[in-house]
Symmetry: C2
Subunit: 401 residues, 2 copies
């Protein structure tokens, strides 16, 4: 025990505290690691899944803020599960779902997935993830001490035998899916695959987490019914559905929500309460007042139009340059493979030198290995059409410089 | 593997999914469990630590909201550690601290403590908590799989031999403290105790989490220097300091912040990113614009005056009725012992029947046992002076009905 001589203030020579192995296991989020590049002046950002500010309904949000600020509920504590009035309003934005499901408000779909996984999966158990994967899900799993295993749905395996084997290996606590306009792949599962996945998960008593933030951004065609809707027809299936206002209204609101049986929303709410007590009251009140303005449908029609034009413009440039990819019917992303003769080594830096930023394919590999090394994730939503065309042209020009 | 006969939609007969033992271990938060009572019409709520809406600077908050809404940053994604402009503004509200400490924005002090504990303590390790304890801390510990052990600082043990023994038992990952206007006790540690705690923790290489949301609410006298400030004089000590705008500005903003060495704020930020990506952009922008209005000092002077009058009014009624307690020099709470002849059995219900709500003492026992059975936590901040006097008179009248 060390005593200090009185009157001798010392500069702290701090020890480095031990850190939990769980926090040390969190991999760097390769998308958030791009933020400093994105902030460079003049950078054309194709990397980030951010709605462009010209796709915000600024007038509506401003009016909603004005109304919200006049209400003491915006400044006060509220229920951990969310504002009951907002929950009622979110019903209209949620797919049809089995009787008894409840809604809880979360800080974005990210928190909904975090709470669902930490409620369903004990440390050491396994979560099945699609590959390519949205990498923020890997952070959740690492922080919770969960093992991850990849699954891929292949066109030549309609019975999903691979998935069935993975589900049968035991200790699988949950299957995570983005079946609609996926990030990064831009893919959408067909109806038969959706039903088959639910049947398999029900048979193995594995709950499904359906991360569905892009559903309303269907610029080409409406997606098939959500897993949560179909689950009412598949006996024994459980789906925890996660939605978000980030891509439709504004990401800065940090509002998402989850629909699930009360046996799951209850524990999720307790976990949320332990972590940060409750959703943001101000943001909830602004969202509620916005939804009451009855502008969302018109706003989404406008956004879908913007994104359709941007998608088609980017797809045209990529197609002409020899990229190979499936067009996306909605969402915000393409995940094209580079033309075959591209010098991949140094490409990120060459493109960056042109003030264009993309998200490299290996960011979306489960083990951050070389998989998807010839792919890029490109967000077509974040730039206006002219900037997008400039960015795409520079990208193509940098391919084989 | 069960197949469905086509065309026969079944009602889901869902299995109950297994839940993680961590989420099952979360104790009910006895304060949030009082919310339904608090919502009853006409209820006079002495139980909840909520600022009364008449202590909000509604005019300032409204103006700040108006300015924030005009700014695309309010609606957009931002850095996981918080808005750099807000962080700069929060510097002025943070105690002096050792060189190199960084600030990160959190969703209330609750999230700051959650992130600090989960970064510093691995599952199975021990956290030392003061008793009586603010019960939301127990939820954090349970969800993270941490053991908890109580410490009490006694006036007749100036060397803190008990605490020294507890720190020496090994596997202690952190000590949590509310040294200033504590919740529920309303107590403030003197300077000698503060230094002694820091010396002991430094000697045992145990980091200290200083939860300090009430510091600015010093209605009678200014508190001693914060542990984080004193830590610069105690070689080898590490303090993670947590502050909040909930009690000074508005709890609905859900904004707090942490000050700590970067070896700790770094992991805390990664954990936060895994859980919900980043702080609320809208709330951060509103807080920034509010602080720029330069109204906070005047607002706090007004609030301190309100709370001083309320504290004194409640203390006078309790004193006259034979309660025993130390007056509080700040914060929001008294934790008085009932007069000796009070029939404790059924008291909560008798008081409730008078439309008055208090928080029973055992809510603040580490093991929810009968400890503090003769105490009540009473918040003097949440009601205006007249309602407070009515509530206190009804409480006294119900004591021995």
């Amino acid at each position: 025990m060390q005593h200090l001589p009185t009157g001798t203030p010392l500069r702290t020579q701090a020890f480095s505290p031990d850190l939990s192995p769980l926090v040390l296991a969190i991999p760097e989020n390769p998308l958030r690691a791009l933020f400093p590049y994105a902030a460079r002046p003049g950078m054309l950002n194709l990397a980030s899944g951010h709605p462009s500010p010209d796709a915000y309904d600024t007038e509506g949000l401003t009016e909603a803020s004005r109304r919200a600020a006049a209400d003491a509920a915006a400044w006060s504590y509220g229920p951990s599960a969310g504002d009951p009035q907002l929950i009622a309003a979110l019903e209209a934005l949620t797919p049809t779902r089995p009787r008894g499901h409840r809604l809880i408000v979360t800080s974005g779909a990210q928190q909904a997935v975090d709470l669902a996984l930490r409620s369903l999966a004990r440390p050491g158990s396994t979560v099945l993830l699609p590959e390519p994967i949205y990498p923020a899900i890997l952070s959740i799993c690492a922080a919770a001490g969960l093992r991850v295993e990849a699954y891929r749905l292949k066109a030549d395996d309609p019975e999903l035998a691979d998935l069935s084997r993975a589900l049968g290996r035991g200790e699988v606590a949950a299957l995570y899916a983005q079946p609609t306009f996926s990030n990064p792949g831009g893919e959408t599962w067909g109806l038969a695959v959706r039903k088959r996945v639910l049947e398999l998960c029900a048979a193995h008593r594995v709950p499904v987490i359906e991360d569905d933030p892009y559903r309303a951004l269907c610029h080409a065609e409406a997606p098939p019914a959500a897993l949560v809707e179909l689950s009412a027809q598949v006996q024994g299936s459980i789906v925890i559905w996660a939605g978000s206002l980030s891509k439709t209204l504004a990401p800065g609101l940090r509002l998402g929500w989850a629909a699930a049986p009360p046996t799951v929303t209850g524990p999720m709410t307790e976990l949320r309460q332990a972590g940060d007590l409750q959703p943001n009251s101000l943001a909830q009140r602004v969202a509620l007042r916005y939804l009451e303005l009855d502008r969302l449908d018109r706003h989404l029609t406008r956004v879908r139009g913007l994104y359709a034009a941007r998608h088609d413009r980017l797809a045209a440039v990529l197609g002409a340059a020899g990229f190979s990819f499936e067009p996306a019917a909605g969402g915000m992303f393409l995940f094209p493979a580079l033309p075959e003769d591209t010098a991949i080594e140094g490409l990120f830096e060459r493109v960056l030198k042109q003030n264009v930023l993309y998200a490299p394919g290996p960011s979306f590999a489960l083990n951050r290995d070389a998989r998807f090394g010839n792919r890029l994730r490109l967000c077509f939503a974040g730039l206006d059409a002219e900037a997008l065309a400039t960015a795409a042209a520079r990208l193509v020009a940098a391919l084989n410089e």
